[in-house]
């Protein structure tokens, strides 16, 4: 555990130093080196160990989930360092601190340590969303702040209830006593789940997500969608090791997946479109953890981190090159490199083999119950149908400006990761799985024009509406736990 601790501490110290010097980007690079060294020393994992002394020690564990997210965080940090120049120095300092916090969060197995790390990632994310100071971004960030803070207040109440009933905060020591019908404990777990879900981009609890991810500067959106929002989901996964909440995760995963896809059809702003797609993709990950298919859910988390980062970076370029955020106005205006990135991202997100999206979806599908395979089929169909909207901008455009380093590196990871999964997992090479995936994608392409002709006006999630939706669904979750 010591190397992991050193890596986290190194990141945090270098992040703080970044505020004091002018060479924040260089310090961020050094932090990345420290992180990679630390990761190579503790990979592939370490057993649960305690940080600190006595009964208040914080348990840390380097399991495959933590290892996968360390790899993803370090890789995305590298991509952003390579692709982003000319930001003010506190951008790089905040980036370092954010990655450092995430590295510590994924290792933690302690309710309160998770709370502190979650709040810290949120605080840094608020600063990053509003870093350019434009009113729309500041307002998006403020909505993000208000809604996640309310979620975290519920989480804190949940910590109180669970601590009062069990006398410990360590998820390792909390045994599954919730079935004994203790009302206080059930309510506490319900509040914990609602709080973590509000942070983790779950539909109706986290309607800050479309504007926060949609209006933030593009590299920040890439980081938020690829990494930060999954911290809430990881918290839910950690909670599911101590409390029997699998059914709840499946239920909120389905709601998030389908409502997210529904919004995708009629959203025209390219970055808000990608933000809603993040919500629907989080549904897959939640379903995976709900079915206790940890390998599939982890693979999906990493896969989504890679292709959504690529899509958001490309969307940022598209916005500049096309001088618009409107998807229908982008066709014919984009350069080759941007179109290539958008294309690879789209193919990966709909799950076409051999890209990494296919491998991750296949792993989930092979661990799903029979009805779950159908749910995944419909979700894939919906994703494919909505992403056909990007096709005109990908196909038609200028023949200039090839892709440069960072997008190519991301594309290589998406392709290579997919091949790696295909070679390692024989289940992915089965004919029915291939057929159903390709079938869903083709069916999606056919359905798409029909769906988009329907005159539907979706709700605009303003602060008050989002907050009422949050209260409503949190009450619903608490009620579910109380009645059981």
């Amino acid at each position: 555990m010591t190397p992991a601790l050193m890596g986290v501490l190194g990141y945090l110290v270098l992040g703080v130093l970044g505020f004091l010097t002018t060479r924040a980007r260089l310090l961020s690079g050094i932090a990345l080196l420290v992180g990679v060294t630390s990761f190579s020393l503790w990979f592939p994992g370490f057993p649960p160990d305690h940080l600190g002394l006595g009964i208040w020690a914080i348990p840390w564990q380097g399991d495959p989930l933590a290892a996968a997210f360390w790899g993803l965080s370090l890789f995305l940090h590298l991509i952003l360092l390579l692709s982003e120049r000319g930001w003010p120095r506190h951008f790089y300092a905040l980036l370092t601190l954010l990655v450092g916090t995430i590295l510590s969060l994924v290792l933690s197995l302690d309710l309160f340590n998770l709370y502190v790390s979650l709040e810290l990632t949120s605080l840094i994310a608020f600063l990053l969303v509003g870093i350019e100071g434009r009113p729309a971004q500041v307002w998006a960030s403020l909505k993000y702040l208000i809604l996640t803070s309310c979620g975290m207040i519920l989480y804190l109440l949940g910590v109180g209830f669970v601590y009062a009933k069990t006398g410990t905060l360590s998820l390792l020591e909390i045994s599954s006593t919730i079935s004994s019908g203790d009302l206080g404990l059930s309510l506490g777990v319900g509040l914990l789940v609602a709080g973590a879900a509000a942070k983790g981009g779950v539909f109706l609890l986290a309607l800050w997500l479309p504007t926060a991810h949609g209006y933030a500067p593009s590299p920040v959106s890439a980081l938020l969608s690829g990494l930060v929002v999954k911290m809430g989901i990881i918290t839910l996964a950690r909670l599911s090791t101590a409390f029997p909440i699998g059914n709840v995760l499946v239920a909120i995963g389905l709601v998030t997946g389908f409502l997210g896809v529904l919004h995708l059809f009629w959203e025209e702003d390219i970055k808000v479109f990608l933000a809603y797609s993040t919500m629907s993709q989080l549904g897959y990950i939640l379903l995976g953890f709900g079915w206790e298919a940890w390998a599939g859910a982890t693979a999906y988390g990493v896969a989504h981190g890679l292709f959504k980062a690529l899509l958001f970076l490309a969307a940022g370029r598209a916005e500049t090159e096309g001088r618009s955020r409107h998807i229908s106005k982008l066709a014919g205006r984009l350069c080759t490199g941007t179109r290539l990135s958008l294309g690879v991202g789209t193919l990966a997100i709909v799950g076409l083999p051999p890209f990494i999206g296919y491998g991750a979806k296949g792993l989930l599908s092979s661990a799903a119950p029979p009805w779950g395979k159908w749910a995944l089929f419909v979700l894939t169909l919906g994703t494919a149908a909505s992403f056909t909207k990007l096709l005109p901008s990908i196909i038609r455009g200028k023949k200039a400006g090839m892709a440069d380093g960072p997008p190519l590196l991301l594309s290589a990871a998406i392709f290579g990761g997919g091949l790696f999964l295909l070679i390692r997992e024989p289940a992915l090479r089965s004919f029915p799985l291939l057929l159903s995936t390709v079938g869903a994608i083709i069916a999606g392409g056919i359905v798409s024009p029909l769906m988009r002709k329907l005159p539907v006006s979706l709700p605009r999630w303003r602060l008050d509406e989002s907050f009422l939706a949050f209260l409503f669904s949190a009450a619903l979750l608490a009620l579910w736990f109380l009645v059981r």
């Binding site: 709040e119 009113p135 207040i153 804190l156 109440l157 109180g160 602060l463 008050d464």
Partner: protein, 119 residues
Amino acid sequence: MEVLATAALGVALVVLGFGALVLRRLLIWKLLGLNVASGGAILFLVSLSYRPGGKPPLIGFPAGIPSADPLPQALVLTAIVIHFATLALSLAYAVSLAEQLHTQEAERIEEATEEEMER
């Protein structure tokens, strides 16, 4: 009995704060509501360290006498710092919005920013 009353008061403050977030139109009131709610959560948490007849848990405290539970107190300290940082940041953002858009009403800010992104 006192501990139950204090815990209930904490939960009531959370409800009150959330109510202000829904009912008030001005941003500054909403942020104050948020702060009241986080104060409620803190009150709830610190009430858990109560032990009947307990003394403050200090180093060098003689064994055998009941002492208050130190863990919730440590948690509350951390939570207070986090809530302070959140409040400070949200007020700074509210000031920035008020300066740029000349309004404090949530609905008007919402409309102005939507127009900004439509362009």
